[in-house]
């Protein structure tokens, strides 16, 4: 008949409060520090691989997924106080930015990978390779018209037909490579001429590939593996990859890579993560699931891909790519492509 005693009510209220604070505390609770990976590669791509590592190593692993550049910038801001142990990035530029914060890797880890896909100072090592290609719609574009170099792309023939992802990291890395290869002025000129062709812009590479496959664009600047992925899903019958033969930045081979932060208290676990990434199982995963080029353990890429050594690449050291990255963003914006 009567209400609860106010004291009881107060007690239950306090209980709710304590519970709430407890939840909050539990969330930020201490415990065994897990291995924290900053991953600039998306969860869709590397999530299964990390799950496998969790299982095989029995380690507790936590991942922060974000853009590679964003994470590199965060690492620089966080400095030596960062919680991160491992930085996994999708391009050498981001790795280069964060390299001052990274520890030298043991040589047995480093040596598994060809020297052009790792840091001069042995602070990061490539784990998989992607090649910039031109995707094209076979119905719209004659093979004979296909460009041999990025300069051929500026042909008015392609007006309104090119698909771009100007904010995407791999496009920016390509621009950075061009800056290193040709200088800023030439790069800006190239970008401006490209902008004059009214390219269609896309948020990422994959929709460009889908667009080429559906005839929405004639050409697109992408990485090689999106088409293979689309084909695995049953699409990709109309589009094809074209590898530029001139040895310019248009056929940049870009490794994704990994390094260990020098402040890490779990560098042993971090090293075993890198060894895992370079193991045959993981390399096979890159070859078969993400259609990238494996860089170690003698694993062969997908059958439809040309061997990595047959692709002419620009004469730049990937360890320097980061020095041009910020300028690349500026130039893309200045050319009006952003």
């Amino acid at each position: 008949m009567f209400k609860q005693h106010p004291l009881k009510r107060a007690v239950s209220m306090v209980a709710v409060l304590v519970l709430g604070l407890g939840l909050l505390a539990g969330a930020c609770g201490e415990g065994d520090e897990p291995l924290l990976i900053y991953s600039g590669r998306g969860e869709e791509l590397v999530g299964p691989l990390i799950d496998e590592f969790r299982e095989s190593s029995g380690l507790e692993v936590e991942v922060r997924y974000a853009g590679s550049t964003e994470l590199a910038a965060n690492l620089l801001e966080e400095g030596s106080g960062t919680e991160a142990d491992v930085f996994l990035a999708q391009d050498p530029a981001s790795l280069g930015l964060a390299a001052p914060l990274m520890a030298t890797l043991p040589s047995d880890v480093i040596d598994a990978v060809p020297s052009r896909f790792r840091d001069r100072g042995h602070r990061w090592v490539g784990v998989s390779g992607r090649i910039r290609t031109v995707i094209y719609d076979r119905d719209q574009v004659q093979v004979s018209d296909l460009p041999a170099s990025i300069d051929d792309l500026l042909n008015p023939l392609w007006t309104g037909m090119i698909g771009l992802a100007p904010t995407n990291g791999s496009f920016l890395a390509f621009v950075a490579a061009m800056i290193l290869d040709r200088g800023e002025a030439a790069t800006l000129e190239w970008l401006k001429e490209l902008a004059a062709l009214d390219p269609l812009d896309y948020p990422k590479n994959s929709p460009i590939v889908a667009a080429a496959d559906a005839g929405e664009v004639g050409l697109g600047l992408v990485n090689h593996y999106y088409l293979l992925r689309l084909q695995a899903e049953g699409g990709g019958r109309r589009a094809a990859n074209h590898f530029l033969s001139a040895g310019d930045p248009g056929s940049l081979v870009m490794p994704s890579g990994v390094g260990v932060l020098s402040g890490s208290e779990q560098s042993e676990d971090a090293h075993s993560f890198i060894e895992f990434l370079l193991s045959e199982a993981a390399q096979r995963y890159f070859a078969e699931q993400t259609y990238e080029y494996p860089l170690a353990a003698g694993v062969r890429p997908a059958a439809s891909l040309p061997p990595i050594d047959s692709i002419p690449t620009p004469r730049i050291d990937l360890s320097d790519l980061h020095t041009a990255l910020e300028r690349a963003t500026d130039l893309v914006a200045e050319a009006g492509l952003l």
Partner: protein, 367 residues
């Protein structure tokens, strides 16, 4: 500190309170006898509610003391919060808890011990047995009022404070309910301080009246006493109808157009006449002329003009039938004489300690 003051359920001494520039209370004094109903009466804005809220502990006085049953609850360096004062309160808007039913409202201030018994006892007392499960919004205004009273009575407080408890009711209900409330309080033998601006209500229900003006109590006493012997012309005018005129006292008497009255004073004085002490009858050679008539059925109110620019009102039987312009004779069976301005000789009896000394002389007419 005398012992009688110690045992009073509630006593306030020399309370002062200002809000910014406004003075609400200025040397406010009040004491209430155990078991009696004291009404603080005064026009709006005179500080009544502030006084009540200080007694209840909702406001802090700037200075002065309050004692409940001899214990100081407001004083220098002392402030006892409302919940520890044993002072019940009935609010103008009743302040019933809308989310609790009648029984829970009444039980709110009770311990678990004997709660059910006490709730039904109090609800019975206010005539609401069987309403336990009703929610406040399902009750009429009068019922809500009685629930508020029951809730305040339930914990058995030293004193109940009621702030304009009847002002939210319509006229008919108000009259019925105040009689009921009076008898409930009497049955419960509770000490009550009520605040109102309604003179009729104050006169009808109170054991003691405290007239308040400009932040202080100007007169206390039983209602009929205060009515009959107002301490000041302000009290006289506020409490009931009164007509005033200036007169001159000389040689122990005051001469008026309606007779001569004895007085001990001399010089300029103010004379007050209440309408009910004026009798009027038709008379062709009467000194007065009827100027206005209001007829109420059970009586009538006549305004008559006398020589010397004096206008008096007379409350009399429905008869005689008089009309404006009729000549009448006037007799008055008592006047009040006030000094002008209000300074005062000492009166024979003093109604309450602490209250300002009333100054009035009531004089039957000569002959």
């Amino acid at each position: 500190m005398n012992s009688s003051a110690d045992h009073r359920p509630l006593a306030a001494h020399a309370l002062c309170k200002s809000f910014d520039a406004t003075v609400a209370l200025d040397d406010f004094n009040l004491e209430v006898e155990s078991g009696s109903l004291l009404t603080v009466l005064g026009p709006s804005g005179v500080g009544k509610t502030t006084a009540l809220r200080i007694l209840a502990g909702f406001e802090m006085p700037d200075s002065g003391t309050v004692r409940v049953n001899g214990q100081t609850v407001n004083g220098p360096g002392i402030f006892v919060p409302p919940e520890r004062r044993q002072v019940g309160m009935v609010f103008q808007d009743y302040a019933l808890f809308p989310h609790l039913n009648v029984a829970r409202n009444v039980a709110y201030g009770l311990d678990a011990h004997h709660r059910d018994h006490r709730v039904s006892r109090v609800l019975e007392m206010v005539g609401l047995a069987g309403f336990e499960k009703r929610m406040p919004h399902e009750l009429s205004a009068g019922q809500q009022q009685r629930v508020a009273l029951a809730r305040a009575l339930a914990p058995g407080p030293q004193v109940i404070l009621a702030d304009e408890p009847f002002s939210n009711l319509d006229a008919a209900l108000r009259k019925r309910l105040r009689a009921e409330v009076r008898s409930i309080l009497r049955e419960a033998r509770t000490t009550t301080i009520m605040v109102t601006h309604d003179q009729e209500e104050a006169l009808a229900v109170s054991d003691q009246l405290a007239l308040m003006n400009e932040g202080r109590v100007v007169q206390t006493g039983p209602p009929d006493h205060v009515y009959r012997y107002p301490a000041t012309s302000w009290v006289a005018e506020f409490l009931g109808d009164a007509d005033f005129f200036d007169a001159h006292a000389k040689g122990g008497r005051i001469t008026t157009p309606f007779g001569t009255f004895p007085t001990t004073r001399s010089g300029k004085v103010k004379v007050m006449v209440r309408p009910e002490s004026v009798t009027v009858f038709p008379h062709a050679q009467g000194v007065a002329v009827v100027v206005h008539r209001e007829f109420f059925g059970h009586d009538q109110l006549l305004s008559v003009k006398l020589p010397g620019k004096i206008t008096l009102r007379a409350r009399c039987w429905p008869q005689p039938q008089l009309a404006p312009g009729d000549r009448v004779a006037v007799s008055v069976d008592g006047i009040h004489i006030f000094d002008e301005p209000r300074t005062a000789p000492t009166p024979p009896e003093s109604p309450a300690p602490g209250a300002p000394i009333p100054q009035r002389v009531v004089i039957p007419p000569l002959g």
